[in-house]
């Protein structure tokens, strides 16, 4: 693996010029919006704590079949484009209610850049995915960048049209599972990245690359 440091610097500069990502916040289900808990320009946070046990900032309240549901932020950022006209209205599922302008963190920048460096396993179908439970357990214990996988290892399980299909590593060699790009049980679009692997022999290069990003993009 060769790292083109010029190209890297260029990419970092492009990202620095616009270090944001806009996340739309949508209704998980139907219901009436009975209250907005935020105003435009307000700073909100996603879940915090070691186990992400502290929930994010409340954004709005949805009432359905007499039950109130507080919709909370899952990102850190600034509230934008609140559709205030929807207050006290019945809304459908997956309706965008507001947006959160999120400033990319060092970790997210690293993930983003690694996408073009790592050997990425992409979603073969628009489907739901989970990591192979054994690998998930190992990652929980040892962390990312430690777990070794080889050709033939069952990496993921795809739930698709009511069937579960295992996804195996078909590439020759020994790899380290370096990044996870999906959330378990959420729908992943076909061809979106699922996990990023690094050949064991390339690990030193990758660590240099990450160090370089860290130097250029302090927390």
């Amino acid at each position: 693996m060769k790292i083109d440091f010029n190209e890297l610097t260029q990419r970092l500069q492009t990202l620095k010029a616009n270090p944001y990502k806009i996340y739309p916040v949508t209704t998980p289900h139907t219901g009436k919006i009975v209250e907005f808990k935020v105003k435009e320009g307000m700073k909100v946070t996603g879940p915090t704590g070691k186990w992400l046990e502290k929930p994010g900032t409340p954004l709005f309240i949805l009432e359905r079949e007499k039950n109130l549901k507080v919709i909370r932020s899952i990102y850190n950022g600034i509230v934008e484009n609140i559709r205030i006209e929807l207050l006290n209205k019945f809304v459908e599922a997956q309706e965008t209610i507001l947006e959160i302008k999120h400033t990319l963190t060092q970790e997210e920048i690293i993930s983003e850049i690694l996408l073009s460096t790592l050997f990425v396993i992409k979603a073969p179908e628009t489907a739901r995915y989970i990591l192979n439970p054994e690998i998930a357990k190992k990652i929980e214990k040892e962390g990312l960048g430690k777990v070794i996988v080889k050709e033939g290892t069952e990496l993921l399980i795809m739930t698709f049209m009511k069937r579960e299909t295992p996804i195996y590593l078909t590439e020759k060699g020994t790899f380290v599972l370096y990044r996870i790009y999906f959330k378990p049980f959420e729908i992943v679009q076909s061809n979106a990245p699922l996990i990023g692997l690094c050949p064991v022999e390339d690990l030193p290069y990758l660590e240099r690359l990450i160090q370089k990003i860290k130097d250029e993009w302090p927390t």
Binding site: T30, R64, E65, N67, E125, F160, M161
Partner: protein, 461 residues
């Protein structure tokens, strides 16, 4: 107040319910999820709401209230046989009409074991097997030994067992076992699968009927205690996972030779089905599924407490005072409180009908469901052909991956068996379904499988 029907389903059945509502001059409201935006059932409905999931009871009821609906049609699949939902629909603060049988009937008949027990007590033949769910593998092995002795005494040879999850269905959570030694490992596997998928671990053991035809009786009951039947259907041609692929009405065909009197068997399974329906005060459309052996023995398998996919082949050959019946229309009308307005004597049968289920599946590789984009879908319209589909024919359609990749139903009518077969072949020959998988390969469908299997219609398989 005029009734307004909420259609709590997707795809072609949602479209057929819309059509039935229009025939009855009823308002209706459709539901859809984000993945289904391109479906014709969404395009066609003048009033529709996006919900999170077709199984989300709260979303469905919230929309019912918001859209001022008075009745819910659950279609098939999803919540259609969920008695808790049916009960909630009729018992909530703002009650709605449930277009289906009473929740009690759904509960009792949907519980296969209880149904089997009651049927057995009423003298209705059921498939030899355990009556109570098993949770313990040693007990399972013991019961299997008992069962083996019992059926060997009845003249069964080379007995195969079916290990089934009580909560399973549609071919899910079922496995075959030939030797008693295999009972325990397979039992463990099915129990684990059932726990994971259905949250209910109970398992039953049945004897596999080696050769049979799958017949079913179409029943209609009203809230006024009236009962009629619309004859039988033959659904023997299925995928290896026991999902129906070709269905025919009526259930037996006079062009074939049987070792038994088919008219007598048909009469008896209809009588037994009506007997069970009456026992449960069944007040909607319902299907009673039977296995018939080459010797003319028959066993009640299960009851489907909903409208079925293949209802229309019965409708095509059933006439009420010379007018062709529409079972969805009858189901809705009766749920809204109408009496039948006719008796069995007014119903006559004429001709034969066949249904193909057109599905994006690779029948050569374990019937795996396929996703992809349909780019071309064309067929030759014929007076004897009814095509039911939610797939648009004027633009590409991407098959959502959350559901079964059913593309269309083709319902063919003819007066004679020879014509029916000829028309069915002609339809498949002219049908074109082309598309691409996400990998860019040509999308395969089950058309070839249907062509090859036409030779097995009305055979014991």
């Amino acid at each position: 107040m005029k009734d307004r029907v909420l259609i709590a389903n997707r795809g072609e059945i949602a479209l057929r319910i819309m059509e039935a509502c229009e025939l009855l001059h009823l308002d209706y409201v459709a539901l859809y999820t984000k993945e289904d935006e391109e479906s014709l059932h969404v395009q066609r409905a003048p009033k529709k709401y996006r919900i999170s999931d077709y199984r989300d009871m709260n979303d469905i009821l919230a929309v019912a209230d918001e859209a001022k609906c008075t009745a819910i049609h659950p279609g098939y699949g999803f919540l259609s046989e969920n008695y808790r939902f049916a009960r909630r629909v009729v018992k909530r603060e703002r009650p709605l009409i449930w277009i289906g049988p009473s929740w009690e009937a759904i509960r009792d008949l949907g519980n296969k074991l209880y149904m089997k027990k009651v049927a057995h007590e009423l003298g209705i033949p059921v498939i030899p097997g355990t009556i109570n769910p098993l949770y313990n593998e040693i007990e399972a092995e013991f019961k299997a030994e008992e069962l083996l002795e019992e059926v060997q005494a009845q003249g069964f040879h080379e007995v195969t067992f079916l290990i089934k999850a009580v909560a399973g269905g549609g071919g899910m959570g079922i496995e075959e076992v030939k030797n008693l030694e295999e009972i325990r490992p397979v039992f463990r596997k099915i129990r684990a699968y059932a726990k994971r998928l259905f949250g209910e671990e109970g398992v039953i053991i049945e004897v596999k009927i080696p050769k049979f035809q799958h017949l079913e009786v179409q029943i209609l009951g009203s809230k006024k205690g009236e009962y009629v039947h619309f004859g039988t259907r033959n659904c023997t041609i299925q995928s290896p996972f026991r999902q129906k692929r070709i269905e025919l009405a009526p259930g037996f065909c006079s062009r074939f030779n049987y070792e038994f009197d088919p008219q007598k068997v048909e009469r008896e399974i209809i009588e037994y089905s009506l007997k069970l329906a009456k026992h449960f005060h069944y007040d909607s459309v319902g299907t009673f599924e039977w296995l018939v052996t080459p010797e003319g023995k028959y066993y009640l398998m299960e009851v489907n407490t909903r409208i079925q996919v293949e209802n229309e082949i019965s409708a095509k050959i059933s006439f009420i005072r010379d007018t062709q019946v529409n079972l969805l229309k009858e189901q809705i009308r009766i749920a809204l409180g109408d009496g039948l307005g006719y008796t069995q004597k007014d119903i006559t049968f004429k001709g034969m009908s066949l249904e193909f289920r057109l599905i994006a599946e690779d029948t050569k590789r374990g019937f795996i469901p396929l996703s992809g984009t349909i780019q071309r879908f064309s067929y030759a319209p014929k007076p004897w052909l009814t095509l039911r589909t939610h797939v648009p024919q004027d633009k590409p359609y991407t098959i959502p991956t959350q559901f079964d990749p059913n593309l269309a139903l083709a319902i063919i009518y003819a007066e004679t068996f020879e014509d029916l077969l000829e028309r069915s072949k002609a339809f498949l020959e002219e049908l074109v379904i082309e598309g691409k998988t996400p990998k860019g390969e040509p999308l395969v469908t089950n058309i070839e499988f249907l062509k090859e299997n036409l030779k097995y219609v009305y055979q014991f398989l």
